[in-house]
Symmetry: C3
Subunit: 308 residues, 3 copies
Amino acid sequence: MLKITGTFLDEISYDIPSHNWGEKEWDRDFSAMKSIGIDTVIMIRCGLRNEMTYDSEVLRRYASGMKPYRDLVEMFLLLAEKHGMKFYFGTFDTGLEPEDRDHAWELDVNKKVVEEAWRRYGSSPAFRGWYLSTETGGHNGIAQGYAELGKHCKELSGGLPVLVSPFIQKAETGLAAGPEADAAALELHRKAWSSIFASISGAVDHIAFQDGTVSIPDLPGYLAINMELAKEHHIDCWTNCETFDRDMPIHFLPIKWDKMYRKLEAAREAGIDKAITFEFSHFMSPNSSYHSAHGLFDRYCEYAGLRA
Amino acid sequence: MLKITGTFLDEISYDIPSHNWGEKEWDRDFSAMKSIGIDTVIMIRCGLRNEMTYDSEVLRRYASGMKPYRDLVEMFLLLAEKHGMKFYFGTFDTGLEPEDRDHAWELDVNKKVVEEAWRRYGSSPAFRGWYLSTETGGHNGIAQGYAELGKHCKELSGGLPVLVSPFIQKAETGLAAGPEADAAALELHRKAWSSIFASISGAVDHIAFQDGTVSIPDLPGYLAINMELAKEHHIDCWTNCETFDRDMPIHFLPIKWDKMYRKLEAAREAGIDKAITFEFSHFMSPNSSYHSAHGLFDRYCEYAGLRA
Amino acid sequence: MLKITGTFLDEISYDIPSHNWGEKEWDRDFSAMKSIGIDTVIMIRCGLRNEMTYDSEVLRRYASGMKPYRDLVEMFLLLAEKHGMKFYFGTFDTGLEPEDRDHAWELDVNKKVVEEAWRRYGSSPAFRGWYLSTETGGHNGIAQGYAELGKHCKELSGGLPVLVSPFIQKAETGLAAGPEADAAALELHRKAWSSIFASISGAVDHIAFQDGTVSIPDLPGYLAINMELAKEHHIDCWTNCETFDRDMPIHFLPIKWDKMYRKLEAAREAGIDKAITFEFSHFMSPNSSYHSAHGLFDRYCEYAGLRA
């Protein structure tokens, strides 16, 4: 059995509609998280395009940021403190396609953003880490950004840990589908990530690959390689157990418990000992707008030996 | 602060699934509307393709209309009367693309429909206006229809007010994206709508542009032009504050409160003093099937100084 | 009035997200079914691609089947027995496009699957029929499979009845849309299904065409032909009254009651006396995650003279 002990907070979202919760409803959801042993909350990003989670002067200036209705960073930090949880601060994301990004510009803006955030919120005892929000399947410019921005975050904050959550991208091998193509794709993954792990070592503390971008039968092969590389490069390998379903026509509703179960077990069997999820509040919370999340919560609690 | 005081009733819909409410549930939702100060309900259309809201002989004959399970016009009028609200009757819509429409035929059928509706329901004290249901971003045939059908409705009913709710369509200018292109698009909007406002003046009393078809930073420019033209042509300029989210993969769930807030504030700053919404029952009602609507209701009530 | 007396159980699904119910929640839903007179539950398939509803050795071996978290066949049989309902066992489906299927291989695997299922579960008093899960609009290979697999199921089980639920596929006639094209499409339907009915007679007992793939005005013509062919070939003609809405952007939420009402009435007028639905638990249950299903349940109960 592998427990979920962390969750993203996705209140600034690409593709998941807001619950429109106020502080009272967020407080109730942090309680639900705490009740099943979640000790880490990760704000997925502090800004996306021109949306912001706090009134950032940096993002107003460089990304035409629009003032949010309320300061989410402040609220999440207060709730994390109240519930005894660690808060990770997610960096700014332009939301652009990899080929459209100006990586040097993004790095520069993000350095200014994390400095500003640390000045404003760094004194909170719940501020316990950084999350580098750009997601990648192995793009070199982005990986380079992980190394430089991660280092900057750590220097700034007296070494607070840095988390990334890339996705597994099954490579095209040119071979017909089958065991040979699968093996070749695995080797391409190893090669690409071997180089990335080397470059981010020292700048990134935890890596939690998204577990929903390859099929369940393929998953163990990728997890084994990830664990091996992580050990070699002294990075903690967690898993990001996605609790939304990528395979249904409605994008997105909670995943079927069977799938979540299989992914958790695959991670456990690979030797992974910490699971986080994207994300609790919509997809496995008893407070979610989507009722099938309530069922997922109940099934997970049965599995984890918790009283639902 | 700008209050929402009107809502569409969308029980005959292109794209929003029905709640399958009976009279009891609709009564409860009219109570919720009333509780936050909604005084105007606008039935979005009386017929769409072969669907009808009442058993119209005209639509049976000209549009193969199918008898509805219950007479929605009668029910909505009774509830509007009970709750002291004004009911606007929406005209028939073929649902065709602009280029496929036979505007003369549609006008002719709609004249017959509104005559029939006025004969049947005109004696209700809640019947207080007309809504011309065809939506346009500036199509001339449709605008001409507004002028002729609006005039017909007013003559028929002793001058009851007529409402339209077009959308803002940011024009292609051929220029590269940027401030110059934005300014050029605004001027094209002014030119197109200047001519439309002139042609509908006297036939249309209120115009409520949909506020979700341009970006929030672009919105103030369009609102300013709309207000200017509306004043010049003696038409009331309301706003149709859309409470569904156009930017999420699920089409459609309730909008994030931050967006609604920004759009209301943009309208207020432009000098608009009446806001209606598409629409209360699915997207901001405490009775909605979508739970994030309950959150939107609560956030709106906080903003508007109402007790949720 | 035509009552719904059967429903599919879709816990292994192409496109409908799971409720993540445990036994307690399923028990509650079987109670709700029973309360409105549902006497037949049809497990839509025992396996789909590499998903299984029970730990089938056959599917593990031939289709890389993955063990389910719990044995759904066992649970559904126990609940059917408890609530006095007939359970139909659905066959395995590869989920492939018709042209990609190896019909002989599928038939062979399915023969093994139904043998295994009958050995394991055939002693349950609730095991009362078979459902051939492949859906078709008239594909010959699939129809041939109905004949052979149906016969095998009946021989195996002492003649338990066999159900299929194909869809109506309005044929392309090359004629411009209009009454002539409609009539020509009807004749093509008659011709194709006349031959299929002849080939499946004796192997299939009940046929329940899906009622949502043609327009409501077109439906009566197809139902009349289906009834005629069914009588001629001594097959019971039921209707599969779909309770989800195919015409809305969200795929899929509960249908509008007006549509369900019209489809039930069209079936009744065609002389059909048993209606099943795809499916109760998501789309018309008072326990559904989708709240508009609660409304559909209430409206249906009013129509059927039941106390909701």
